[in-house]
């Protein structure tokens, strides 16, 4: 008899496909995973604790660094929470700007996901195509707020900078360009037999499991649950625009892939309407007291980030710093299902499934 034993393998923290410093300890029987233990915390910076000693405006740059692929939505959730507590009015122009940058950010974020996911699966070129198109959005942001990744753009009560002259036209030009590129992406990749064979039926779970694990975003919608906070509990100006929430049927990686591409298309649809309706003038900053002191109490707001439901829970004692600030990070919550999905899969599928969940380690570890 040959003595066989399980192979204990550390995937990460330094590994090209864990999207940052994330580690999974797996036990392999041949190429089949018998147990998977995710280890996180390599990127923990204590954002929530740090926030307790900062006033609300100072916290905004910290939110940029949580989900650095989608910093605008993080900005928004904090500002939105504070505004909700204080009952502040945000001028329409500012709200439009916020919505436009959030949707642009969603497109950019999904592009990063699309590129890196295909890179995980072994196709090199789409990564560069995706980054070419993301670059345009990044340049737009750069023009708007001077930063390319960590924007620090929004403020409690409005936005820091008004759109420079001609900026809105550039956004308008970008929409048809991106729609054309989206078709190109579909032609290039979505029908590829090898790619379909890799992702179809991989990492499947049903709606009940998804809800039990608290999944959100495309990870939830791929099972057929129609839950998009932009529609379910409209915040910002989302109830003014027409868009669909794409849902999947099977709940596998292929569904999640198609959903994210479709979400780009829907975001472009929102953008198109928003650019048309953009007010020609107006304030970009509402009437905000000089020192932001939310009244004592608690508030929880949630919005739809590209990765799912991002929530912000503020406990205030009526001071200019929060007593406790808690972020519900979608990457962190979505990741919980990983050990369950991995058992019985092969080493190769580990990468497919992990990539399909779409995590940003900065947000997982916060």
């Amino acid at each position: 008899m040959i003595r066989t034993e399980e192979l204990l393998l550390n995937v990460g923290p330094q590994h090209p496909s864990t999207h940052g410093v994330f580690r999974i300890i797996i036990k392999l029987d041949g190429e089949v995973i018998t147990e998977a233990i995710p280890v996180m915390g390599y990127l923990h910076r204590g954002t929530e604790k740090l926030a307790e000693n900062l006033n609300y405006t100072q916290i905004i740059p910290y939110t940029d660094r949580m989900d650095y692929v989608s910093a605008m939505t993080n900005n928004y959730v904090l500002c939105h929470a504070v505004e909700t507590m204080m009952g502040l009015e945000v001028p329409e122009r500012a709200e439009f700007l916020r919505l436009i940058v959030m949707e642009l950010q969603r497109v950019a974020s999904h592009l990063v996901w699309w590129g890196t996911y295909l890179l995980d699966i072994g196709a090199m070129s789409p990564f560069l195509y995706a980054f070419r198109d993301r670059e345009i959005i990044i340049d737009l942001f750069n023009e708007l707020c001077g930063a390319r990744l960590t924007y620090n753009y929004m403020r409690v009560g409005g936005v820091k900078w008004d759109a420079p002259e001609g900026w809105m036209n550039k956004v308008r030009d970008f929409i048809p360009y991106m729609e054309k590129k989206l078709d190109e992406y579909n032609n290039l990749v979505s029908g590829n037999e090898i790619f379909l064979a890799r992702i179809k039926g991989v990492g499947t779970y049903d709606a009940q499991t998804a809800i039990d694990y608290g999944l959100s975003g495309a990870n939830l919608r791929c099972t057929g649950v129609n839950w998009d906070i932009r529609k379910a509990e409209p915040y910002s100006l989302y109830n003014r625009f027409e868009f669909d929430v794409p849902v999947g049927k099977i709940g596998d990686c292929h569904d999640r892939y198609l959903l994210r591409l479709e979400e780009i298309r829907q975001s472009l649809r929102i953008l198109k309407q928003a650019v048309e309706q953009f007010p020609s003038d107006g304030e970009t900053m509402g009437k905000v007291p000089r020192v932001i002191r939310p009244p004592a109490g608690e508030a929880y707001v949630r919005i739809e980030s590209p990765r799912g439901e991002i929530g912000c829970h503020i406990v205030s004692k009526g001071k200019s710093e929060p007593y406790r600030l808690k972020f519900r990070r979608p990457s962190f919550v979505n990741l919980q299902i990983l050990p369950k999905l991995l058992v019985g899969e092969t080493m190769t599928n580990l990468i497919t499934i992990l990539g399909g969940i779409d995590i940003v380690v900065g947000e997982v570890d916060c």
Partner: protein, 337 residues
């Protein structure tokens, strides 16, 4: 050269053999240097990049610089590695890769050894490289390397079979295992070359060959997004370079073999184009195949191990066997020697 091989071995002859081997080595190294440059440029353009353009004019010396860097690097051997095997593996990988080139005829008169079992020699020797890759993976004492080595063993064994069977049709048509005879048997018009009558064999051969080369979409042994670098993860410096060299020498060998077996070797595509030397036609066809191999890399995602195995055994092998039967029936009913 063929006549010399038949003569008594003298010091003079041995010297000639040695020198011609050195010349071949230089040609191969030159090819590898510029194949890498070409690959990087081609993929760069396909991916909206520029590719190497800093070292030398148009970056032509980039690969030379890379090789120099690898030469100067510290050569590390992991403490817990199996030292002897670790050192042996890159050499064992490279030697057969170079040795198979001996039987490849470039034109009617330009060739090194005129073996009458040339094809068999090629197939037999190239199998040894698999052993070296498994050895490298095993001796590194690294889990990723081990997984990569094992994958490579499974993959190469699975694809060697359809590869060999797919060329049986060609052998039957030309009635010889000698590569020169195989080329000579192919006609003067391009539709008389083997790739049309042997279209199934040709397709199976190309797919199996890409897999043998461990290139995208079959680059599982070194799947960088899963296994980091696969079997050569622990190798550094020139030992690593040897593995890379092996890979590109096999690109050379497979491209040459495809040209010979299926694309009419040094024949011009039409008789009136015969004024162009055969060597140029050979190089042109050869370059097209090399480009095709590089092109794949920019286009395809990677297949999964189980799918790779399933595809090899359930699709390619039956197709290759079918091809043998069809060819046999064709010869029996229409040609009947």
């Amino acid at each position: 050269m063929g006549d010399l091989l038949l003569e008594q071995l003298t010091w003079g002859n041995a010297l000639i053999f040695f020198l011609s081997a050195v010349v071949l080595l230089m040609i191969v190294l030159g090819f590898v240097t510029y194949a890498i440059y070409f690959e990087r440029k081609v993929i760069g353009w396909m991916q909206l990049r520029i590719g190497p353009n800093r070292v030398g004019p148009f970056g032509l010396l980039q690969t030379v610089a890379d090789i120099l860097k690898l030469l100067l690097k510290e050569d590390t051997i992991p403490r817990k590695a199996d030292r002897a095997l670790f050192i042996l593996a890159p050499v064992l990988a490279y030697v057969p890769a170079f040795a198979v080139l001996a039987v490849i005829p470039y034109t009617d008169s330009l060739y090194f050894a005129d073996l009458n079992v040339g094809l068999l020699y090629y197939v037999a020797l190239s199998g040894i490289t698999t052993l070296a890759i498994v050895l490298g993976g095993w001796a590194s004492n690294n889990k990723y390397a081990l997984l990569g080595g094992m994958r490579s063993a499974a993959q190469m064994i699975s694809y060697e079979v359809p590869l060999v069977i797919s060329i049986v049709g060609v052998v039957m048509l030309s009635g010889s295992l000698n590569l020169r005879t195989i080329v000579a048997e192919q006609g003067n018009w391009f539709w008389e070359w083997n790739f049309l009558p042997q279209i199934i064999g040709f397709v199976v051969f190309v797919i199996a060959a890409v897999s043998e080369l461990n290139r995208t979409p079959f680059d599982l042994p070194e799947a960088e997004s899963e296994l980091v670098a696969g079997y050569h993860v622990e190798y550094s410096g020139f030992r690593f370079a040897f593995f890379m060299l092996t890979e590109y020498v096999y690109v050379y060998a497979i491209a040459a073999l495809t040209t010979i077996l299926f694309l009419g070797g040094w024949h011009a595509p039409a008789p009136f184009l015969d004024f162009v030397p055969g060597l140029l036609w050979f190089m042109l066809k050869f370059a097209c195949i090399v480009f095709f191999l590089f092109w794949l890399r920019a286009t395809f995602p990677r297949v999964r191990v189980d799918q790779l195995m399933g595809f090899g055994w359930k699709v390619l092998l039956p197709l290759a066997i079918l091809n043998v039967f069809v060819t046999a029936a064709y010869i029996e009913f229409f040609i009947k020697r």
